[in-house]
Structure formats: structure tokens, C-alpha cells
Amino acid sequence: MKVYYNIHTIWLAMMLLTLTTYAMAKLGYSGAVVMLFLLLSAATKAILIIRDYMELRGVSLLWRVIMYGWLLVVSLAIAIAYLISL
């Protein structure tokens, strides 16, 4: 498993997630499930950037709480706002 988890496969995964997001936009998908999927996809990419590209894995808990906390608050608030508008 460790062999396949590296900066190259992370790049590939993020490219595929982006293409999936674009495909869903192109196909005109909408609704709560699609919105949650798209947000989850964006959050996954963000986690990979923070953890492996910014190299925050293993740094003090405070810094990780700030970064992941920012992502969690932003994602949750967007999800709630969109669910209200459905």
C-alpha cells in the first residue's frame, strides 16, 4: 500500500478527481447528493495538498487543527448553505 501512496500517485488522484468534477458539471448533475460528492472531492484534494504537499503531516497538532479546521468549517458551511437553498 505504502508503495502506491506517494507524491506522483497523489498528483494523479487529484487530476482524476478534477476531471470527475468537470464531467459532473458537463453532464448537468445537481442536487444534494451531487453537491456533497463534489464538496467531498474538493475536500479530499485539499487534505492531500495540506498533508502531503504542504508537508503538515507530523507537525504540531495546533497547526494541523488550524489548517484542517479551516477546511472543515468552510466545507460544512458551504454544504449547510446549499442544503438550505434546495
Partner: protein
């Protein structure tokens, strides 16, 4: 025997947290930028609740092909910067410089595609006061556009210093500092793209 004891002590000692990569000061800048963008994203989502039909209607006028292509470019730019850091850690200065310029190339590609997108919109007479959706679209993406330019200036300065032999495997804090800022620019776009261009 002593060596064995020392090794055992080392293994059993709790691991110290690593320090943040790069200059510590850049992280306060990064946190401040993320806070500003976070508030802007939340404002977009909240205002959209009161204007759902308008946001959904005008979102369809955005060029999602260019939006997606720009996302691919920024992710690749981040990947190239990571390659640059890995190269300098191996004392491979030449490769480090090559990856830094490759990343700058992706950044330039982003600016070009974004400029085409703006040209298209401005040609149609769209501006900040056209409606609330375009106000958010233009201000959010232009604010981010400025950050891409700043990130590129920082990366270019780092690349120049690397060319002059300013970095080594033991001393490359400047590259890590520039890379951290560059990743932040990517991170913001990763949320901005689905939020403004796709989710409806």
C-alpha cells in the same frame, strides 16, 4: 552494549512534532489569507441562498472547460514544486531549478487561460455591477488571480537564488517558504472551482 542501550532509548522516546516547513512568518501570512478567502467563500454561499435562481442561471455562462483546465494546471504546478523540494534535498540543484521553472510555466498557463476568460466576459459587457453573481465571480477569481501573480513572483525569486547557488540540501528554507505559499494558492482554487463553477 552501550550503543544498543542508546538505540533502544532513541526508539522508545516519543517522536517530536516536526516544524512547519519554510520560514515561520509565511505561515501567519498563509493563515491570514485562508481566513480572508474562507469568509469570502461563506459570503458567496450565504448570498446564494437568497438568489438561488440567479446564481444557477449565470453560473451556466461560465467557461467550465477553462476552469477545469486551470485546476489541472495549479495542481500540476504544486506537484512540480514538490519535485523541486525533493530534488534540492538530494543536492540536485539543476533538477530543482528545472522543476521550479516548470511550476512557473503552469502558473503562467493559469494566468493566460484566466485572462482569456476575463476577455470573453468583459467583451460581453459583464462587469462587477452586472449582477450579484458576477460580482462574486469576478471579485473572488480576480483576488485569487492576484495571489497567483504574487506566488509566481516569490517562486521566480526563489528560482533565481537557486540558479546563483543559494540553496543546498542543508539550507533550502527559502524554497520551502515559496512552496508553502504556492500550495496555499492551489488550495484556495481547489475550493473555489467547484464552489463558483460547478456546484448548483
Amino acid at each position: 552494549m552501550n550503543a544498543v542501550v542508546i538505540n533502544e532509548t532513541k526508539e522508545s522516546a516519543p517522536e517530536e512534532p516536526r516544524l512547519l516547513p519554510g520560514d515561520f512568518a509565511i505561515w501567519f501570512f498563509i493563515f491570514a489569507e485562508l481566513l480572508v478567502f474562507g469568509i469570502a467563500f461563506l459570503s458567496y454561499a450565504v448570498v446564494r441562498v437568497q438568489n438561488v435562481e440567479m446564481f444557477n442561471q449565470y453560473q451556466l455562462t461560465l467557461n467550465r472547460e477553462l476552469g477545469a483546465a486551470n485546476t489541472l494546471l495549479l495542481i500540476t504546478a504544486s506537484y512540480f514544486v514538490v519535485r523541486a523540494i525533493h530534488a534540492i534535498r538530494l543536492e540536485d540543484v539543476k533538477s530543482c531549478i528545472k522543476w521550479l521553472y516548470a511550476s512557473l510555466g503552469c502558473g503562467a498557463g493559469f494566468l493566460l487561460l484566466k485572462s482569456l476568460e476575463y476577455y470573453d466576459k468583459f467583451s460581453e459587457g459583464i462587469n462587477l455591477s452586472t449582477n450579484t453573481f458576477y460580482m462574486f465571480y469576478l471579485s473572488l477569481t480576480m483576488f485569487h488571480f492576484l495571489h497567483v501573480i504574487l506566488g509566481m513572483i516569490i517562486l521566480f525569486a526563489v528560482a533565481i537564488k537557486a540558479q546563483r547557488g543559494g540553496y543546498s540540501a542543508d539550507d533550502h528554507i527559502g524554497i520551502e517558504t515559496g512552496a508553502s505559499y504556492w500550495h496555499m494558492v492551489d488550495l484556495v482554487w481547489i475550493i473555489l472551482f467547484p464552489l463558483v463553477y460547478v456546484i448548483r
